[in-house]
């Protein structure tokens, strides 16, 4: 008999809290973890509480429904109804362009993807757009939309194209949202096990019908997540709006068609409104800027909550056992 085997019974395996048996490096590690975690919580709380306090001080429901007017006095300058509608409008245009394009690209990349070189090239291109600074995209937009060929998308008088409109801003913003939708949809599609596709093909459906009727509905939570993330980025973008939307306080439609004129004209969004009215702009009304920023953050919060709800609901009927 071996003395060692019966000498001591094995210790029950359980995580040991930091104690005197730990090495110094480990103790420093855990201390750093807690310290930095607490610091991060403090900073996050400070920012959130700052925005909350400033928002509650300055937000009134009347601000949401009054048109903005110009002036140097706080009482003269109205609310931010136009920027609010502008944010929703520009987000709608961006998502309307990015969603079909993004889902189509993701489906092609993950389900088809021949020739391989083209597929890899498209993948790299989408990744490059994800890393491009929005100011570079805005400059690209000024070049493209000032050309006479695309003059119908913004105001033009006598053959000279203005180049700034909701169409222009929305189109470039769709480039911002596109990589998020593509990557999220691809992950969702790749998470579906192959036996599902094979079963569908075995039953006789074409590949496209498989995609349409089985894969996309299953991957719908990922598509929604990607769309919401893209929407969040689109709503918070400042540089593209400032350069491509004209930053006029109210909607200035080009032409007389009710919706088309607005889309071809200039306007503003909550982000450019905050930019202009903060001390960094010519408006110099911090109270309105904080109120608008609060509304913006509230919209982002609602969006994030929606993403969470969709994610939780999707886990009920997911394919992962």
């Amino acid at each position: 008999m071996e003395a060692g085997a019966l000498a001591t019974p094995p210790r029950p395996p359980r995580p040991v809290p930091a104690g005197p048996t730990w090495r110094l490096a480990d103790r420093i590690g855990i201390a750093l973890c807690w310290a930095l975690g607490a610091l991060f919580c403090a900073i996050a709380a400070a920012i959130v509480i700052f925005m909350l306090v400033q928002g509650i001080r300055y937000v009134r429901p009347s601000l949401l429904v009054t048109h903005p007017t110009a002036g140097f006095n706080e009482t003269q300058t109205g609310g931010f109804l136009d920027p609010l509608l502008g944010t929703l409008l520009v987000a709608a245009i961006a998502i309307a362009i990015a969603l079909p394009l993004g889902v189509a690209t993701a489906v092609w990349l993950s389900e088809y993807g021949r020739p391989f070189a083209l597929a890899r090239l498209t993948e790299s291109a989408v990744e490059m757009v994800a890393g491009t600074p929005s100011i570079v995209l805005a400059l690209f937009g000024t070049v493209v939309f000032s050309s006479p060929a695309l003059g119908f998308l913004s105001r033009s008088s006598g053959g000279v194209v203005f180049g700034r409109s909701f169409f222009a801003a929305g189109a470039i913003l769709s480039l911002v949202a596109l990589p998020l939708i593509v990557s999220s949809t691809r992950e969702g599609l790749q998470a579906i096990p192959t036996h599902l596709r094979e079963a569908s093909l075995a039953v006789g459906k074409t590949r496209f019908a498989t995609v349409r009727r089985i894969l996309l509905p299953t991957a719908r939570p990922s598509v929604v997540t990607g769309t919401m993330l893209g929407l969040g980025r689109v709503i918070g973008d400042t540089a593209i709006i400032v350069i491509l939307l004209g930053a006029t306080l109210r909607f200035n439609s080009a032409g007389h068609a009710p919706l088309l004129g607005v889309l071809k004209g200039t306007g503003s969004t909550l982000t450019s409104y905050v930019y202009q009215n903060s001390p960094s702009g010519e408006g110099n009304q911090p109270s309105k800027a904080y109120a608008a920023a609060f509304v913006l953050l509230a919209i982002v919060l609602v969006l994030n909550a929606a993403v969470e709800i969709v994610r939780r609901r999707s886990q009920v009927g997911s394919w992962n056992p």
Binding site: V16, I47, V48, A104, A130, V136, F208, V300, L303
Partner: protein, 332 residues
């Protein structure tokens, strides 16, 4: 036989071949737009590079004066001036982005570990949405917080009179500084890194962690040696994304970094942190109203081309760094 089992699809117009071609065409449309962007930006940037050669990236002369000369030459109709040595701007970009990413990476790893494992669950529930919210705050708000809180604090409480006088012949130290820029940029890009690191840590198979704990390894070493090592692809992805965001940040840095084309000198000691500078993206937005002057337009597009190129290089570096880790990957 059984209609429920046999699902016959008549060959519709959306047959497989056509569907593939349509989807492929849409995807290639996206590719075409991105390639067009590359072509446009590089074409518009070419005159500035052509007139300056490699000296574009070098130093020599006051960058702000060069910008002013370029703009006036185009605005007032004389012969165009092109001379532009962008080194102070490049150095400022390298400093702010490098420092912010380094500090943020160090902190984010620990914060992500904290959130995933060591935090009490109530704190964890609150932190997840808060992080996502922080990642979506527009950069103007960060700039405002910087201008209203951080810059006056640095200017009035951290910089001494003696320091100001020692450099008074060249620049004024008033709080708009490298320190303010790096601090706020770090806070700005941390939520991105933290959320991606958290996703990566969560994807580590629970069995691996429990096996390690079962062998008697203490909690810290388990997570540090096993979970963090496994999540290395996520660490790289998060770093690449955060670096891209830091490179492209224009509005906040234009408000907070001092906006002077000055290359901070590390040999200045403590004063180095208080020196003003101006990164590339902030230069574009500071001069965005001067696009009407042709040589200025080409110079600004040249700066944009440099930013575009660095974004592409980042993606490449990220891909290269992930390759050796594929054999340890949890998911392909």
């Amino acid at each position: 036989m059984h209609d429920a089992l046999l699902i016959e699809e008549r060959p519709h117009w959306w047959s497989d071949r056509r569907a593939e071609l349509t989807l492929g065409a849409l995807a290639c449309g996206v590719l075409a737009v991105v390639l067009a962007m590359l072509v446009f930006v590089v074409t518009a940037a070419w005159p500035s590079f052509a007139h300056n050669g490699l000296h574009w990236f070098g130093s020599g002369g006051n960058v702000d004066n060069q910008i002013r000369t370029i703009f006036l030459s185009g605005d007032q109709g004389g012969p165009f001036h092109w001379q532009f040595h962008a080194w102070p701007l490049l150095w400022s970009t390298i400093l702010t982005t490098g420092a912010a990413v380094a500090i943020s990476f160090f902190c984010s790893v620990f914060v992500a570990l904290f959130i995933i494992e060591f935090a009490p669950s109530s704190v964890r529930e609150i932190l997840q949405p808060v992080i996502r919210l922080l990642a979506s705050v527009p950069s103007v708000i960060y700039g405002l917080i910087g201008v209203l809180v951080i810059v006056p604090f640095i200017g009035n409480h951290l910089i001494t009179q003696g320091q100001k006088q020692s450099v008074a012949y060249a620049i004024s130290l008033n709080g708009y500084s490298l320190l303010a820029a790096v601090l706020i940029l770090t806070v700005m890009i941390s939520p991105i890194m933290i959320s991606i690191f958290c996703d990566g840590l969560r994807a580590v198979p629970r069995t691996w962690v429990e096996a390690s704990l079962g062998l008697g390894v203490n909690r810290w070493r388990t997570y540090w040696k096993i979970a963090v090592r496994t999540a290395r692809p996520a660490l790289i992805a998060g770093t690449v994304l955060a670096t891209a965001r830091a490179l492209g940040e224009a509005v906040m840095l234009a408000m907070v970094s001092g906006s002077v084309g000055f290359a901070p000198n590390p040999l200045d000691g403590v004063i180095f942190f208080f020196e003003p500078s101006r990164p590339l993206a902030a230069t574009i937005i500071s001069n965005s109203e001067e696009l009407s002057s042709p040589p200025m337009k080409h110079t600004l597009y040249a700066i944009a081309a440099v930013l575009l190129f660095s974004a592409a290089m980042l993606s490449l570096i990220g891909w290269v760094a992930k390759q050796p880790m594929k054999k340890y990957a949890v998911r392909g």
